[in-house]
Symmetry: C2
Subunit: 144 residues, 2 copies
């Protein structure tokens, strides 16, 4: 269960593509791991606590890069900013309550019947690390 990508392996992944390891890229990747659910804004805030000068532009560019490298995924929780989270085997499906805004996580295996069906019948390969389901949570379904 790999929860952290070490600086050296990040460096290796970057080098493979002729890209460079910078303090910003390390800090941003660490921030995503620490935050779990991270918007560009929250990453920016977190990174700034360690290194004041890091620009929001760099956060956007780096998150996009980290996603290309397969180190993070993003999903859209309700409206507004995308939410980034570490890629890997700790993936989860999000349950977003439209009433109270709470976000719960469930094992992506709950999607297996659906992903299997869609692959067989529609030739569509669902990216499970990317799924958000909207609805009403237990606390809200009675008092909407």
């Amino acid at each position: 269960m790999l929860r952290h990508v070490s600086a050296t392996s990040l460096a290796a992944m970057l080098r493979e593509r002729g890209l460079r390891l910078t303090p910003q890229r390390q800090l941003i990747l660490e921030a995503v791991h620490e935050l779990g659910h991270a918007t560009p804004e929250s990453v920016h805030t977190a990174v700034r606590e360690r290194a004041a000068g890091v620009n929001i532009t760099t956060v956007y560019r780096t998150l996009e890069l980290l996603e290309e490298l397969g180190l993070v995924n993003h999903t859209h929780l309700s409206h507004g900013s995308p939410t980034y989270h570490p890629a890997g085997d700790d993936q989860h499906v999000h349950l977003v309550c439209r009433s109270c805004g709470s976000i719960a996580e469930v094992d992506p295996a709950v999607m297996d019947p659906v992903t299997g069906l869609l692959l067989r019948e529609r030739d569509f390969r669902v990216d499970v690390g990317h799924v958000s389901l909207f609805g009403l949570c237990g606390d809200c379904k009675d008092t909407p």
Copy 2:
């Protein structure tokens, strides 16, 4: 299988709340039905073909209203603008290809195993008319 909400029934729903039937509201609701998948921008364009003066602000306000009335739903297809579609029994789940951007639709019944499980085990009521699944379509999965 009700595919259109008539002007009179829209009027009735509005009147119940002390709201008014206006040409803009009729046109915008019609546009959502005609377009099927409609962003605020595309609704604006479609409506303008019939009535030049309609403002984008009114489109936003009206889509929000129509959603409160339960006449339309919106979902987030990839990034960017939300996509509105008619509410009712023609609901569908969206399959969004992250490679080519294509949007396919499937019967929401494919989600039944998942919605049932989440209701039983997590007390979470999934809004199926709101589901978008991201992944790779058949055309793209071989040549990503």
